[in-house]
Amino acid sequence: MRRNLAIVPAFNEADSVAQTVVAIHQHAPGFDVLVVDDGSLDATAERAAQAGAEVLRMPFNLGIGGAMQGGYMYALDHGYEIAVQVDGDGQHDPHHIADLLQALHSDPELNMVTGSRFLSASGDGFQSSAARRAGIRIFSMVVSRITGQRVTDPTSGFRMTNRRGIELFAHDYPHDYPEVEAILLMHAHRLRSCEIPVVMRPRLTGVSAISSTQSVYYMVKVLLAVFVGLFRRRPTLEPNDRPAVLAESAT
């Protein structure tokens, strides 16, 4: 059995998910592929299975945070050492998985490597709209200030974690719009992360999870979570610790 897992969250992406799965198998042969079908109403799960992926079906739409956490739970249960998130809509180029892996292996202290759109000098490829870049820059400033290291693309979901990261995220992962908070979660648990440049492509199908009307909610929600998070004490989670999820500790 392989030790590396690519987690592909997909919601109604029947047209592109098979392509993503095949591309991962082709460009990252050392990785098993798990498609997390987040309550799709189309044939996403069937297409993914036909393309040779394991499929985790959520009984209804949990949102990206809940779906990804399900993927990390799978990785934890099945003993994977490395997990990489690759979006099912084709934005993340599986070519870069090898780069992420190399970066993660280059430093044994590292627990997470994120592919950043904004590090590549050329700046070509898919860069998203001006408004969205402005939002990302605000998050970038906030996250860089809190973590004390430069974070250029805190909203990038193209990231790879080692076993410690898998353990952490399987137990505690933010609900919606999780990427920014996940970096801070890592930081709070004193795990190390870094970024490497990647080129992202325009999505093949579907629409962004974040419409323009939702982006205000996005900004407010994430900034609130970041701010409140500063006042939350999160002791470093060891593998045998009780999960930090509120629901499991509630009476």
Binding site: L41, M58, P59, F60, L62, M73, L246, A247, E248, A250
Partner: protein, 151 residues
């Protein structure tokens, strides 16, 4: 004086109605005690304030409210805000638990399908295995249908 009596009569009727309603819902087990406690507290407090006129008046003058029924509203709004916050807590906890259940269900389903496929490959001629399989094939669309109609 008569319109104040009317107001008091209305306040007493409404608060005792609320008290009875909460009691009846708990008695029929439609409302669990856990969530009824705050409602009962609110209903009893308001009822006492409505019935015991001297208390409301003296409390109102203590805090400098010249129109005593306003104090009733202040207290009522405070209690209702408490109840609503309590509900938000309950909803947050339920959605957390719901998420965990959905994730666990997905993981279990994947495991079951995996082992059924494996069992089928190991013993394809076993009548029992294929019967199980047919059953699960049938169960699948029904479950999906139920969930999607629930949206």
């Amino acid at each position: 004086m008569s319109h104040i009596t009317l107001q008091r009569g209305l306040a007493i009727a409404l608060t005792s109605g609320l008290l009875l309603l909460v009691f009846e819902l708990v008695r029929r087990k439609r409302l669990s005690e856990r969530y009824a406690i705050l409602w009962l507290l609110a209903a009893v407090t308001l009822f006492v304030l409505a019935v015991w006129k001297g208390l409301l008046t003296s409390l109102a003058s203590d805090v400098g409210i010249s129109y005593p029924p306003s104090l009733l509203f202040v207290v009522a709004i405070g209690l209702i805000a408490m109840i609503l916050l309590n509900f938000s807590l309950a909803v947050s906890r339920l959605s957390d638990q719901n998420k965990i259940l959905a994730q666990r269900l997905g993981l279990l389903q994947q495991r079951v399908e995996r082992s059924e496929a494996l069992a089928n490959r190991l013993a394809p001629d076993d009548g029992r295995a294929s019967a199980d399989d047919a059953e699960s094939e049938q169960a699948q669309p029904v479950a999906t249908e139920k969930l999607s109609s629930g949206r």
